[in-house]
Symmetry: C2
Subunit: 349 residues, 2 copies
């Protein structure tokens, strides 16, 4: 075991503060990683504050982890010391259920081991996330990261990236499809970049007119101000696909009406309270409302490779760990363009 620096919350109401945690001695299947950057996900805040059911404390958040391999176990051939690697939202799963067998470990029937606020496969050793200097992860749950991209801007791909890439692939978004990305934040801005790279005709839907310039700069072809009732009417029946990234309450029916026959709206963010859905919004045009949760290891690797090929990274603001509590407050005000990333060197001091 080695004692490493981290930042943790001790309960739902304390701020993040320095804390030391033990990382296990790497076993034969493990990869020991020197964490270089870790993204700050909105879900870190929800969980730190126990807003998604009872959390496990102390908690070291962070599941958008990139770093370099320090050492590998005897049975690990895929990685070697010095390799750039990533770790996303989970660090293990049962490996035997149909979802695991299908390479969709995020839907593991026995519950994946979340990177933090979860337990290792033994269901009793708590996991600690990436707001720390090191992590030890089974090699089957470690991703290869290209040296071609700026590493600090790669970190958010491990959650925000795969969360938006996976549904676009699953629902077969392709050249010429008319797609809409609802909300231009940490998730939405990645959805725009992926949609553009896949050749789709991309519209950003936002209630903030101030987002239009950024949306266009990221490659979006159109901007639809969602509070402009007239504009919304013009887009009725327009879209093949909508990606709803909004985690505040929003009117699903209003968006469903923008879909063509057989169009799909996929939720990757969800408000804390249920949203009323009119059956008629779905029935009249055979529309679908679906959900999607991150992605499996295989698809996460595919996404990272796609990003290297298409030169896609997240738009980030890099911060030292000392600014993390302020960053949380800014995330809650949507005052970030578009993802905070912790420079984990600041944890070593």
């Amino acid at each position: 075991m080695s004692l490493v620096n981290s930042y943790a919350v001790q309960n739902a109401t304390t701020p993040l503060a320095p804390f030391q945690i033990n990382r296990r001695t790497p076993g034969p299947e493990d990869v020991q990683i020197d964490i270089l950057y870790c993204g700050v996900c909105h879900s870190d805040i929800h969980q730190a504050r126990s807003e998604w059911g009872p959390s496990i404390y102390p908690m070291v958040p962070g599941h958008e982890i990139v770093g370099r391999v320090m050492s590998v176990g005897a049975n690990v051939s895929k990685f070697k010391t010095g390799d750039l690697v990533g770790v996303g939202c989970f660090v293990d799963s049962c490996r035997t259920c149909p979802s695991c067998q299908a390479g969709e470990e995020q839907y593991c029937d026995n519950g994946m081991s979340a990177t933090y606020n979860g337990y290792e496969k033994d269901k009793k050793t708590p996991t600690y996330g990436g707001y720390s200097t090191q992590i030890v992860v089974d090699h089957n749950y470690v991703l290869k990261v290209s040296e071609k991209l700026p590493l600090h801007a790669v970190a958010p791909l491990l959650c925000a990236g795969i969360t938006t890439y996976s549904p676009l692939r699953k629902w077969n978004v392709k050249k010429g499809d008319k797609i809409g990305i609802i909300g231009l934040g940490g998730l939405g801005h990645m959805g725009v970049k992926f949609g553009v790279a896949m050749g789709a005709d991309v519209t950003v839907l936002s209630h903030s007119p101030s987002k239009e310039a950024d949306a266009k700069a990221m490659g979006a072809h159109n901007f639809l101000l969602s509070k402009d009732a007239g504009a919304m009417k013009q887009y009725a029946g327009y879209f093949d696909f909508l990606l709803n990234t909004v985690s505040a309450f929003n009117d699903y029916n209003e968006y469903l009406n923008l879909l063509k026959v057989d169009g799909t709206m996929v939720l990757v963010g969800a408000p804390p309270v249920p949203v009323p859905v009119s059956g008629f919004s779905l029935i009249g045009r055979r529309r679908r409302l679906a959900g999607s949760l991150i992605g499996g290891i295989r698809e996460t690797q595919e996404m990272l490779d796609f990003c290297a090929e298409h030169n896609i990274v997240s738009e980030v603001e890099v911060i030292p760990i000392s600014e993390i509590n302020e960053a949380y407050e800014r995330v809650l005000k949507s005052d970030v363009k578009y993802r905070f990333v912790i420079d984990c060197a600041s944890l070593k001091q």
Copy 2:
């Protein structure tokens, strides 16, 4: 033009009563039909009472029509005098939009011509439905009906049949799939018969324990009492597909939780008020909530042929038109096994 007997409502609050309507002189593309039976759909009641937005009065309801061809126009080769035929929920559509071109006229961009409570393609001549002795319909919107099946029990296939058949086909229900039919009424009982004929493992979900015997008699393999919380828990993550036929308020989240990863619940009935949907019900297992509206002409014919091949008909109670108002009250109390069908000979007297 010919004057024919019918039953109509004159406004949202009057009962159905005898009324005479004009049917057009058949044109070169038309089929003139002697109506033998007409099913009574719950939507007849909603529309007669103007519960789905403003209705067009006087209204002759009925869109589950079977009869014999009396005459055909000069350009009609597919039908001849004496043929058994059916007419479903629409009698025309624009024929040029993508949905019409795809043979899915029910989603016509320019609005299909509903069989009643609608307008012909000229958008001004009101349509009158099957609670009458005759109807004249363009041959492209007329279906062939087999002589093999009891005709009175075929009538409901034109709406209840296609409404349930279409989503099972669209979502590729196949041998061995675990499917659930929510609600055992006019729609649900057809869903059971189709699911069984397609080789699926069929469970009926109902809040009435009294429905179990009928469900099993129709071929259902399992019965799940939806108000039994313990039983519902046992079925969590069990189904590949759910067909929700309930038009009263019901908790979608409770049913969504019964779906596997990538499972779909299709709505073919919808409560008058929106139903709260928790995004987490969808996201955590990549589930889908979809809608489906009747079916196109091509698929309706396919369904009728499937029924002839598999000896499938609706369970019906045949009534004379004089009992129609009482039948409406009984439908509202779910006191019908499982569809009322009007013997249209009673309109000729």
